[in-house]
Symmetry: C2
Subunit: 132 residues, 2 copies
DNA sequence: GAGTAGTTTATAATGATTCTAAAAAAGTGT
DNA sequence: ACACTTTTTTAGAATCATTATAAACTACTC
């Protein structure tokens, strides 16, 4: 199975629960954005199986650390994650509280002119807030 | 006093506590970034006076709503606010957990090519994460 | 000054996230 | 398969930032 490698790379053994989480996260062409609670709901629906919240949190964080998921910087009471780990940007619809992908080509090149001594750039992320 | 107007514009009466909060927030040439807890500490030091957390939260939120403060979108357990309400961007030093201003001129123009039907752009914010 | 509406405060409630420790499962060697 | 060790899952508790509450206090109006 293709998920076993992802799990092992993340330092996790391929257990039944973790493979189910992988199914929901990665068994789709489309990438998507989610909160932990949305993910838990999706797992319950898609697999008719409840996985404890702690396991969902742990697995998501391990994938995030390894780079198989990323967290989107946003002001919300809940953390938003993204299965699209390519460099890209986001609209945030304030009314709907939903993220929408913005490809790099939708934004154009961003050149950071200022430098900070002894630090290097890890990521550059654009958040475009939308209102009606 | 210059703060009375800011407070009235925000729908707040100029009370002793709120004026003290204004002193700490606005009585300086330099703008700065803060969390609610950092602000509370600053108030205690600068005015030798404890103001209840609820009042600090309420006042900050009223100023934010009116546009005298803004919140910076970032993944942190605490919300970060900015007394610099001009359009600008940020470095985020992951090690120090500190924000650093990036002026618009340090980033260059950003042109969002994608449009979302029925929505308009409220803000465009760039977050540049820094590591060692 | 009396009356009213807004404010402050301590404290409680909420809710996302993290921690804990016991039970369950998986891996290892024989 | 069995005994033994290590990892994992889980329910529930703990944490902590934020928000809500409601009683005491203060500011504004007439
Ligand atoms: Mn994380
Ligand atoms: Mn706010
Ligand atoms: Zn995305
Ligand atoms: Zn700033």
């Amino acid at each position: 199975m293709k998920y076993i490698e992802k799990l092992r790379n993340s330092g996790l053994r391929p257990t039944k629960q973790r493979l189910q989480i992988c199914e929901v996260l990665f068994n789709t062409d489309k990438t998507f954005h989610f909160t932990i609670n949305e993910l838990e709901q999706k797992i319950k629906k898609q697999t008719n199986n409840k996985i404890s919240l702690a396991t969902v949190y742990n697995t998501v964080h391990a994938f995030e650390k390894k780079g198989y998921l990323k967290q989107i910087p946003i002001n919300s009471s809940e953390a938003y994650f993204d299965t699209n780990v390519s460099d890209h940007h986001h609209f945030y619809d304030l009314k709907e509280e939903k993220l929408i992908d913005l490809e790099n080509s939708d934004v154009g090149p961003i050149n950071i002119l200022k430098k900070i001594n002894g630090k290097k750039i890890k990521s550059v992320e654009v958040l475009v807030k939308l209102e009606d």
